[in-house]
């Protein structure tokens, strides 16, 4: 892959060719390896019991987070070929706020413009959702809102193929 053709392109247009071309490999790992913990168990969730125990919005009084959670779930509900996926970035920003990612001098930004030099050109891109530490002025986390319905690493090519043909039938 040392002779792989490379061209300057923004991150939104990167494909596996760029990963091969720059010697980058993605490895799937389990929870214990990823979170550097001794046990494979995940920590308990701090989300409210209403969110954890109800599929849809229940009747009765709800807190603001609970109400908005069910409203966003309805909007982002991934029904094929329904344009709910445009709300993924909004849902991502909401869920990070709900789980208090923006503690400790951090703020959540959406559609933040960034750029980086690639093959002697500067390419520009936008981070769908990102977390910035306002004291250090550094970006801490970014969330990519996927606008593609099916993901290769979760679905086999047969399933992708079937779904694509559904669109033409």
């Amino acid at each position: 892959m040392a002779n792989c053709p490379r061209s300057a392109k923004c991150a939104a247009n990167w494909t596996n060719t760029e990963l091969f071309g720059f010697n980058i490999r993605v490895v799937d790992v389990d929870a214990a390896t990823f979170f550097e913990s001794d046990s494979p168990e995940l920590p308990p969730s701090t989300a409210s019991e209403v969110i954890l125990n109800n599929v849809t919005r229940p009747n009765g009084p709800l807190t603001k987070d609970e109400r908005q959670f069910f409203q966003y779930i309805d909007l982002v509900h991934p029904v094929p070929f329904r344009p709910g996926w445009i709300h993924v970035a909004d849902f991502s920003a909401f869920i990070t706020r709900m789980l208090n990612y923006d503690d400790e001098d951090c703020l959540i930004f959406q559609r933040k413009g960034v750029g980086f030099p690639m093959i002697w050109k500067v390419v520009y891109d936008r981070l769908d959702v990102c977390l910035m530490n306002v004291q250090t002025r550094k970006l801490v986390l970014h969330i990519h809102a996927n606008n593609v319905r099916y993901s290769y690493f979760l679905f086999s090519t047969r399933q992708i193929n079937d779904e694509l043909f559904k669109g033409y039938m």
């Binding site: 040392a2 923004c10 991150a11 990167w14 494909t15 596996n16 060719t17 071309g21 720059f22 010697n23 980058i24 490999r25 993605v26 490895v27 799937d28 790992v29 389990d30 929870a31 990823f34 979170f35 995940l42 920590p43 969730s45 989300a47 954890l52 982002v76 991934p78 709910g84 996926w85 993924v88 849902f91 789980l99 400790e104 001098d105 960034v114 750029g115 980086f116 030099p117 690639m118 093959i119 002697w120 891109d125 981070l127 990102c130 004291q135 970006l139 801490v140 986390l141 970014h142 969330i143 990519h144 809102a145 996927n146 593609v148 993901s151 290769y152 690493f153 979760l154 679905f155 992708i160």
Partner: protein, 165 residues
């Protein structure tokens, strides 16, 4: 055709590209290695990434050559009871609990592993370089303010009589 579809359906290259742009924003002058945390959301189903970005990788991308050192990106997709229904995301209660637990664990990981929550880099950095007009320029870069705060220019030709004396 299918290879092309695989490429456009996999969010990993885009996520990694955006992590490199974050590295560029975070380190305009001092290129110190960083581990950039990232999440890719497919509807309400996340995949988590830890992307190590080193100065060697950044220079390879900037210069367009193949780096000798391999970069290994870690990806974690939460294991739910039925992996086929994972893209339903938080619609199912079982999935929802595991995804929220993973998000909590990821938040803890960011605070523990990512050094960016505390200012660790030195504030003022002096960067000497020569601009096209053949002047020596000293840029004073403030890491905390993330900006160049002063330029000190010494004209080369103005200094020549002094240097020759």
């Amino acid at each position: 055709m299918m290879n092309y579809l695989k490429d456009i359906c996999d969010p990993s290259p885009t996520v990694i590209g955006k992590a490199i742009s974050m590295f560029s924003v975070n380190n305009p002058a001092t290129k110190t290695p960083e581990c950039i945390p990232a999440i890719s959301m497919m509807g309400t189903a996340p995949a988590f990434y830890r992307i190590p970005v080193t100065p060697a990788l950044f220079q390879a991308i900037e210069g367009g050559y193949y780096p000798s050192e391999e970069t290994v990106v870690l990806r974690f997709v939460p294991r739910v009871p039925s992996q086929e229904s994972y893209l339903d995301g938080m619609l199912s209660l079982d999935n929802r609990r595991i995804i929220l637990q993973s998000l909590e664990a990821f938040k803890a990981l960011i605070t523990r592993v990512c050094p960016l929550f505390s200012p660790s880099s030195p504030d003022l950095i002096f960067l000497p370089h020569m601009n096209p007009e053949m002047n020596f320029v000293w840029s004073v870069y403030s890491a905390n303010k993330d900006a160049y705060i002063q330029y000190i220019t010494i004209m080369l030709f103005a200094c020549l009589p002094v240097l020759c004396a």
